[in-house]
Symmetry: C2
Subunit: 192 residues, 2 copies
DNA sequence: GAGTTACACGGAGGCGGCCTCCGTTTGGCA
DNA sequence: TGCCAAACGGAGGCCGCCTCCGTGTAACTC
């Protein structure tokens, strides 16, 4: 059915610029939200807007790329966390990253969100895998006795989304995010 | 404490234009989402943009006005529904209006949403009253035996928000909304 | 190393939205 | 009727979106 067509190799300069664009977009959207200026992205990447639009014909295409990469990074982080010595520390670090992930992609358009519901979509696969990884990480922390048994992965996720929502218009005040995360982490500790 | 300062009477033309702007904004935001063009709003209202900005210095101010009015209309509708002969019919009509309310204000910026959390904010008061009215209406339908006893008002609300979300980029396809609402209404009927 | 060419680049330019500013108009009052 | 504060309108400056096309160059060949 879906023959894995090799995605044709890019010319060296094209690949460089693509990387630079992704990097610039990450910073720009983190600061300005997903409505951030695409011209600003191009400017920061040191390329013309034409180059940006050739690589990513629409804002959604760029967002999807970033979102996918962000999911994969979280997935990787949960794998590392499972190997780490200190389960509580690993959990804290993961939640922190998850909070920034949610914050960056707050307000992502529904056109992109809908892609998460399509079964054959690679973005949806990343998302599902990421959630699975998160659940494993939480479970390990519970097994180690550093997190309450009755904490559901989905509930904690919602709390983190809540933090992203609540710090929506707090600019790049990462201290605020950390403070709120601290509250959540305290709440997760076993009683006594 | 809060002396109710009379809000100074507007000149006749000013009041006319204000009404026209609210009307135009309602249509425009319903069609284009809350990011719709303010110039388009002014155009439709038949006034200059300067007039729009004098009445509503920011997009949030305009949105708040519309949102507040929409809440109040829902509140009124629930009152009428309590008096109506057919509780099931009243519920259906209310849900329909609620769906269009949610659809219109999808994507409302967090700056406005945060106003809903401020205790002394009139918008928050409208919102709270509306929810209360909705709960009464549902309860009456349950008392009349046309809706399952175990339907929680909050859960039904979430379903309607879900419909608003899912029909986000369906343009002005109201038939889709109606079809989805039909499913919800079917689900609300008592078993047997 | 020189030549070739398809791929990639850049940014000007047209469009439209945002918001301000200020000259003009008008409602309401005496 | 005359006055004037209140209200109006839209030009203009700025910025972001996206396209188009002339220029540049990586990579491959001989």
């Amino acid at each position: 059915m879906t023959e894995t067509t090799t995605p044709k190799p890019l010319r060296a300069d094209a690949r460089r610029n693509r990387e630079a664009l992704i990097c610039a977009a990450t910073r720009t959207f983190a600061e300005q939200g997903v409505d951030g200026s695409l011209e600003e992205v191009a400017r920061r990447a040191g390329v013309g807007v034409g180059t940006l639009y050739r690589h990513f014909p629409t804002r959604d295409a760029l967002l999807t790329e970033l979102l996918s990469a962000s999911f994969d990074r979280l997935r990787e982080l949960s794998r590392e966390g499972l190997e780490a010595d200190d389960p509580a520390q690993a959990l804290a670090e993961y939640l922190r990253q998850m909070a920034f992930h949610s914050r960056t992609f707050r307000g992502v358009p529904s056109s992109v969100k809908l892609a998460l519901a399509e079964s054959d979509n690679p973005l949806a696969a990343s998302c599902t895998a990421t959630h699975a990884g998160w659940a494993e990480l939480l479970e390990r922390a519970q097994d180690a006795g550093v997190v309450r048994r009755d904490a559901e992965p989905g509930d904690v996720l919602r709390l983190v989304y809540g933090i992203a929502w609540a710090t929506d218009n707090a600019g790049d005040d990462t201290a605020l995010v950390d403070r709120m995360l601290g509250l959540v982490l305290d709440g997760l500790r076993p009683a006594g």
